[in-house]
Structures are given as C-alpha cells and as structure tokens.
C-alpha cells in the first residue's frame, strides 16, 4: 500500500473500517482475557501457597471451600441471570407493544422501585417477614435487582429499530410475531445485550451478599474474611468474584459477537 493511505489520521481510518467490515475479534483477541484471568488465578494460588495460614484463614482458603463457593456463585449467577432474561426480555417486548401503553409506566415504576431497594434490605425483609431463606430467596433478590438493566435496555433497543425496515417487513406480510422475532429483536440485540452484560456483572457482584441468608457463594469467603478481619481471605474472595465477573462478561462478549447481527 502506498504511503498516503497509511498516513491517514488513525481515528478516521478506524471509523471507516468499522463501517465497512463487521468487526470480529481475531483469535489472539479472544485469547487475551482468559489468559489474563488465568494468570491472576495462578498468582493468587502461588501467593496463598507461599503463606503460613492460620487456622481461620485455612478454614476458608482451601480447595474444597473455594470450589463449593465458586460453584454456588456460578449457580446463583447463572440461575438468576436466566430467570432475569426470561422475565425481562419478554416483558420488555410486551412493554413496547402499543396495547400496553397504559400500564407501561406502572409496571416500570414498580420494577424500578424494587430495583432501587438495597439487595441486602430485600434479603433481610424476605428473611424476617416471610422467613424465606436460602438459594431461592437469593434468586428472588438477585433477579429483582437485575431486571431493570435488561428491561430498560430491551425497551430502548426495540424502540431504536429503523422504522423503514419494520415497514418493509410488515409490507411483506410478516405477522407481528415475525416482525418481532425476525427484525426487531435481532436488530435490538446489541442494546439488549448491553443490558444483559450489565446485569450479569451486577449479579456476580451482588451475589456475594446472599451469604447472609444461607445461600452460599463467594460471599461466604469474603464475609468470613471480613468478620474475622483476615485481609487475605477477603482479598482472595473479592478477587475470585472479579475474575468470575470478568469471565462471565467475556463469555457474554463472545455470545454478543455471535448474536450481534453481522450486517450492522
């Protein structure tokens, strides 16, 4: 290639490129994140190995406890996210249909209100007022917390779809359902997924709180560290949470690359 083109101002060249070719990550691009996360884990492992642990630290920082906590956390995140999706995407779709215009503000209002209450308060209230504990209560708390990001983004995403495209679809005899599934939802995927990824990260973070109602997860480790003032334990717990969040977000990123319509 001749000099002039390469000398072009970089920001501009990038714009042009993103417009002409759908951005797909290269293989090295895909590998960076797991590599970094792996290294972080390895670092933590080596550091913990090198330390004399007292009995309190040892009680939290052992493979069995960590794995159980991790597994619990993954379950919490996975199930709550799944439930969130199952609730909020269809709800978002419903709330963008014209026939729900009247009830729309109320439903959103209620959900907003629930979202804003600190999860810890919801958990406590569930536990105290309904004596509702454990995994299921935790899911309720997490879901209430994650609905709004997905719901709002679903709605905005759907509202943003180009009118002309929908008109063309309707003009071709697409039923409402087909317009929705074949055009609106795919075209709203980037915005919806932004909401989902936000919710996922929030869920991974918030799920550390459900340890207070016997729902396990990495919160067990963090709170153990917190309550006995063992910084190392806290740090490991928090770091594991962050690693998990980034990993989950990374996987969601791959899902987005696959789901994001390529023509956009």
């Amino acid at each position: 290639m001749s000099a002039p083109a390469t000398a072009a101002s970089t920001t501009d060249a990038e714009v042009v490129q993103t417009q002409s070719a759908p951005p797909r990550r290269s293989w090295p691009g895909y590998l960076t994140m797991p590599l970094i996360l792996g290294l972080v884990c390895l670092g933590m492992f080596l550091y913990v190995q090198s330390r004399e642990l007292d009995s309190i630290e040892a009680r939290s920082l052992n493979a069995r406890t960590i794995l159980t906590a991790l597994q619990g956390h993954v379950m919490l995140t996975a199930v709550s996210t799944l439930v969130t999706l199952v609730i909020s995407v269809p709800l978002g779709v419903l709330l963008t249909r014209s026939f729900t215009r009247v009830i729309r503000p109320y439903i959103i209002g209620v959900l907003t209100v629930l979202q804003a209450v600190p999860t810890i308060a919801i958990l406590v209230l569930l536990a105290v007022a309904f004596l509702f504990l454990g995994f299921q209560a935790a899911i309720v708390g997490l879901v209430l917390y994650a609905i709004i990001p997905v719901l709002l983004n679903t709605m905005v995403g759907l509202e943003q779809v180009d009118e002309n495209v929908m008109e063309a679809g309707r003009g071709m005899g697409f039923s409402r359902w087909q317009v929705l599934t074949k055009l609106e939802v795919p075209l709203a995927v980037p915005v919806i997924l932004a909401g989902v990824r936000t919710a996922l990260v929030i869920n991974v973070g918030t799920a550390t709180l459900v340890t207070y109602i016997d729902a396990g997860g990495l919160g067990d480790i963090i709170v153990a560290g917190l309550s006995t003032n063992r910084i190392l334990v806290q740090l490991i717990g928090a770091a594991l949470t962050a690693v998990l969040a980034l990993l989950v977000d990374y996987i969601a990123g791959i899902a987005e690359d696959l789901l994001r319509p390529k023509g956009l």
């Binding site: 990038e14 509202e159 909401g195 990260v201 928090a238 949470t241 962050a242 977000d249």
Partner: protein
C-alpha cells in the same frame, strides 16, 4: 407500634435522610455520567480500548461494597466522601456500556453526511452522535441511578448519608419489634427516591430526546 405510626414519628428523620441520600446519589450519578460518557466516547471506536474499559469498570461493580467502603475509610474517612467515591466507581459501567452501544448504533449514513459537511470530530460527536445515541445513554444513566440508590444505603456502614442508617440499624435489631419497621422505612424511603429519580429521568428523557427520533 405499627409502620404508619413509626413513619409519622420519624417523619423529620425520613425527610432529612432522604435529602442526604438523594444528594449523594445525585452527585455520584452526575460524576459517573460525566466520566462514563467521556470514557465511552474515547473508546467506542476501538475494539481493544472499549473491551478494556468495560472490563475495568465492570470489575469495579464486583468489588463487594462492604469491602470497598472499608478500603476507602482509610484515605477518605467516614461519612459521605467514601460513599460518593465508591458510588462513582460502581456507577461507571452501565453508563460506559450504554454510551458505547449507543454510539456504535448511529446510522453510518448520517455520520457520513455530517462528516461530509465538514463537522469536526468534536462537532460530529456533540451535535450528531451523542444526541442520536442519547436514548440509549440516558437509559444507562437510569440504570446507574437505580443501582446507586441501593448501594448508597450500604454506605451506612461507614456512616454515609441516607436511608442506609435505618436499614442497618434495623438489621442490627432484627428480632425486635422496631427492626422490621426500620428496615421497611429505609426501604420505602429508597423506593420513594427511586420513583422520584425515575420520574425525573422519564421527564429528562422526553425533554432531551429529539422528537425526530422518538
């Protein structure tokens, strides 16, 4: 004492806590929005930059708030300062993410014609791209606000301002008659704030989103 009586007896408190809560959350949202939009704007064109920024702001959200508040206590002390700081960190990700998504969704034909008219990068951004991405961005801000309203309550552990005080005091007395009232009062307070904030956002979205793209 039922909940109603409790509220009436604590009405002054409720109002005061509410204002404090709203102030710290409002401040944090404002700051996160400014920083978040700026980060989004700086990174949305480059795959690597935006993934990095999202990973970093995302991992903020995973730091347990208890731990973060305690961490901040040393440098920032007790009260609103650590709370504000932590809230800003927590609030970034939804804003950044939606800013990026919104900017990337702007119709290339429109960007092209704007460029064709000689708008500078800045003008393009301020006059065309941001206004068009605005509905998505403001949704991110809305999510941030709601998330922060909740987290702000946890700020009570470092004696931060707001309804968290009621919630945590209540929590500390669970099993006693006032406990549920207190937690409930705190929760209701936050809920009311949520409604107020959300109404504000709804109005702001309507007022700030051009009729041409509604």
């Amino acid at each position: 004492m039922n909940f109603g009586e409790f509220l009436i007896r604590r009405a002054d408190d409720m109002l005061e806590l509410g204002l404090a809560h709203a102030a710290v959350v409002g401040g944090a949202v404002l700051i996160s929005t400014l920083i978040g939009v700026a980060l989004g704007v700086l990174t949305y064109q480059s795959e690597r930059a935006r993934e990095t920024v999202l990973a970093i702001t995302g991992s903020f959200l995973t730091i347990p708030s208890f731990a973060l508040f305690i961490l901040l206590l040393g440098p920032l002390g007790l009260g609103w300062k650590p709370v504000l700081f932590a809230l800003v960190l927590y609030g970034l990700m939804p804003v950044v993410r939606n800013t990026i998504t919104g900017l990337r969704g702007v119709d290339p034909a429109v960007v092209e014609s704007a460029k064709g008219m000689g708008l500078s990068r800045r003008q393009l951004l301020l006059r065309i791209e941001l206004p068009l991405a605005w509905p998505v961005i403001i949704t991110g801000v809305r999510v941030t606000t709601l998330v922060l309203l909740g987290i702000a309550a946890i700020g009570a552990i470092v004696n931060g301002p707001g309804y968290g005080e009621l919630i945590f005091t209540g929590l500390a007395r669970v099993g006693t008659p006032v406990a549920v009232n207190m937690v409930l009062a705190g929760a209701v307070g936050v809920m009311i704030l949520a409604v107020v904030f959300d109404l504000a956002f709804y109005t702001a979205k309507r007022l700030t989103t051009s009729r041409g793209i509604r």
